[in-house]
């Protein structure tokens, strides 16, 4: 009889450094891209301008895409109608901003920000409510069938887009930025548009807030667990459907926020703007890894930067560059940069 432990001590071999670094590689992608941009763009000041505008664009796409990717991760629901929330957010926000013309026209930063806050709030409430209705009426009956989800949400997108035409008419609406956010500041010889800096800040705040909620709160824990294994979370007594509806509403509201940001970025809105942005959003969620907020963030910044650098080097390549980026990343990591592990 031998009760003694085996005499040899097991050695825990550390994985080689390269292996341990592998999951972190995507994080390096954005800095590497910025450095590459620095090397290929001849003028330093235009590099800085392009980088800021790429980051601003990426942040806006991230704000829009984060909700969609979480909705997919949590319930395996793919929402092609996400673009409708962008358009509705933009239209509601613009309507509020135009109504608050005196506040946006005043040369006071506080009044301007208040007007924007009002517009954003209105847009988020409307799109959040829309998201709730959309989930109830359109998505709920087709849980579990991707084919039907794609078809039905596409139908929802058509109806929502037509409703914009009914409510606001078919013409595009021009919306000027608030007084204090017009123009640019000069930094190190480069002209940086003020609004883009604001967009970067808002995007960062949303990212950090999302991360905080997902990593540090109980709700976030349930959501993350739900992404990995919904049935188990359900079995532990949490109503995953209710959590999911909450995430859907939050995601829709974020799309509305993104819509307002995009409207002020472009300074003109059309009923089909949501569809145009959705193309970038799809690329972002695919290369980020469907269901992953971090991957979505990295993907959005990458797409924004690549689009801006490519547009500067060769204007006609701007859209193709993103397709090429998507193809390259899918060859490198077929499940996206930060793949979501499903316990299934």
């Amino acid at each position: 009889m031998t009760d003694s432990a085996p005499t040899h001590a097991p050695t825990m071999t550390k994985l080689p450094l390269a292996e341990r670094l592998r999951p972190w590689l995507p994080v390096l992608l954005v800095p590497v891209l910025i450095v590459i941009g620095y090397l290929i763009i001849p003028s330093q000041s235009s590099w800085l301008t392009l980088t800021v505008s790429g980051l601003a664009m990426g942040m806006m796409i991230f704000v829009i895409a984060s909700g969609m990717t979480l909705v997919f991760g949590l319930m395996d629901v793919i929402n092609f109608g996400h673009g409708a929330f962008i358009s509705f957010g933009a239209f509601v926000g613009t309507t509020v901003l135009l109504a608050l013309g005196q506040m946006t026209g005043a040369p006071s930063l506080l009044l301007n920000l208040l007007a924007i806050a009002g517009a954003v709030l209105a847009a988020m409430i409307v799109t959040g409510g829309m998201g709730w209705a959309f989930e109830r009426a359109i998505v709920r009956p087709v849980y579990g069938s991707h084919l039907k989800q794609i078809l039905v949400t596409m139908g929802g997108l058509i109806v929502a887009e037509q409703l914009i035409y009914v409510i606001w008419g078919g013409h595009e609406i021009v919306i000027a930025r608030p007084e204090t956010l017009k123009g640019a500041i000069t930094f190190a010889g480069a002209a940086l548009e003020k609004y883009r800096l604001v967009a970067v800040a808002v995007g960062l705040i949303v990212f950090l807030a999302l991360r905080l909620v997902l990593r540090r709160t109980k709700l976030g824990l349930i959501v993350r667990a739900g992404v990995e294994n919904p049935e188990m979370v359900q079995a532990l007594g949490y109503n995953i459907t209710r959590v999911f509806v909450g995430v859907f509403i939050a995601g829709s509201a974020l799309a509305g926020l993104g819509g307002v940001m995009w409207a002020l970025y472009q300074e003109v809105i059309t009923a089909h703007m949501g569809n145009e942005i959705m193309i970038l959003v799809f690329i972002v969620v695919i290369i980020g890894g469907l269901g992953s907020v971090e991957g979505c963030f990295i993907g959005a910044l990458t797409v924004g930067l690549v689009q801006n650098y490519a547009a500067f080097m060769e204007p006609k390549l701007a859209l193709i560059s993103n397709i090429a980026l998507m193809v390259a990343i899918l060859m490198w990591r077929p499940m996206g940069m930060v793949p979501v592990v499903k316990a299934k």
Binding site: K148, K316, N322, I323, M326, L330
Partner: protein, 349 residues
């Protein structure tokens, strides 16, 4: 008869009568409905039947959603246009253009399929959407090759144009336009029967098995990715041929007429409303859709004017908003009639 239909009979008397009526109407369109506008409609119906049926091959039988179908359609159309512009007018140019368009569409479809279906079938929908819109932008920008936003006019052989006159049959002057129509009609008929053959072959059976349960099909021993990729290629190539016919018929090709997202939406609506997974759904759906597009809009215009005193309602009923109602009909039919008109007529659920 059953051999021609590859053993896939309509299985419903009403459907059989409808199909026969549509076939007869299209076959004798130049004599039954004289006038260039109705001939235009008939040709459009022929071409859209093939386009929609080829989409059904992918969506209804393969269970794959693609948003790049108009891109393949456009490849065929632009193939003919570019070949004619480079090689000069003539039948060889038309043949080379159609063939080149078809091969290019097949290759691109294969690439997209291998890139996306390998991982997840759901990627396919998103990737095709992104690629199709990028290509549409590219086509409108590369004006040196594609004519940009203006598109290209195509010079086709004189025998196919209205200037070529043959004589008179039953009081209708036979000209090149009518010959052109019959070229379109017979090509479309042949392509449709070919697709009927494909979906009723063992290959089509496997596709349906994969649609119902991909995992089980894989377990039985069928390479799911291979079958899906093949279905994608076939459907893209047939769509490209339909595009070539469209270009020859219209004698014009432009981004809006071949690549637009609106056309993609139309195809999707027709397939679902007509009936997914039934080739005949494409026929019935297209005929109803194109006729509705022509006549329903007039009706809606009348109703909009009749209610002009009320708030909001005239806006909802305006003929421009017909997509709104179609969208609602689309959603309802996905829920309640997933097999569409044809499925209803056949009494399957």
């Amino acid at each position: 008869m059953m051999r021609i239909l590859s053993g896939d009979s309509p299985k419903s008397p009403v459907l059989a009568v409808l199909l026969a009526l549509i076939l007869l109407a299209l076959a004798f369109a130049p004599f039954l409905f004289p006038g260039s506008r109705s001939l235009e409609t008939a040709a459009r119906i022929c071409i859209f039947i093939v386009l929609v049926a080829s989409y059904d091959l992918l969506l209804g039988y393969g269970g794959i959603v693609s948003f790049a179908h108009t891109m393949f359609f456009g490849m065929g159309a632009y193939g003919v246009a570019i070949a004619t512009a480079r090689m000069g007018t003539g039948y060889p140019a038309l043949a080379v253009g159609a063939l080149a368009g078809m091969v290019a569409a097949g290759l691109v479809a294969l690439l997209i399929a291998l890139l996306s279906l390998r991982v997840r079938a759901i990627f396919f929908a998103m990737i095709t959407l992104a690629i199709a819109s990028a290509v549409a932008v590219l086509v409108s920008q590369l004006s040196a090759i594609t004519g940009g936003e203006d598109g290209m006019n195509i010079r086709i052989p004189r025998e196919l144009t209205p200037a070529f006159r043959l004589g008179e049959v039953m009081g209708t002057g036979i000209n090149g336009k009518i010959l052109n129509y019959y070229l379109v009609f017979f090509c479309c008929l042949a392509l449709f029967l070919l697709m009927l053959r494909i979906v009723n072959s063992p290959f089509g059976r496997v596709l349906q098995a994969i649609r119902e349960n991909a995992f089980r099909a894989e377990a039985i021993g069928y390479r799911v990715v291979l079958y899906r990729a093949l279905a994608t290629c076939l459907s893209a190539m047939i769509a490209a041929l339909a595009g070539s016919l469209f270009a020859i018929w219209l004698r014009y090709v432009g981004p809006a007429t071949t690549l637009g997202m609106e056309i993609m939406m139309d195809i999707l609506l027709i397939v679902v409303i007509g009936g997914m997974g039934t080739m005949y759904g494409a026929v019935v759906g297209t005929a109803i859709f194109v006729l509705a597009q022509n006549y329903l809009k007039t009706l809606m215009g009348g109703m909009s004017e009749a209610t002009s005193a009320l708030p909001l309602i005239p806006d909802l009923l305006s003929p421009d908003r017909w997509l709104l109602w179609l969208g609602i009909l689309f959603i309802l039919s996905v829920y309640f009639f997933p097999t569409g008109i044809v499925g209803r007529l056949r009494g399957t659920r």
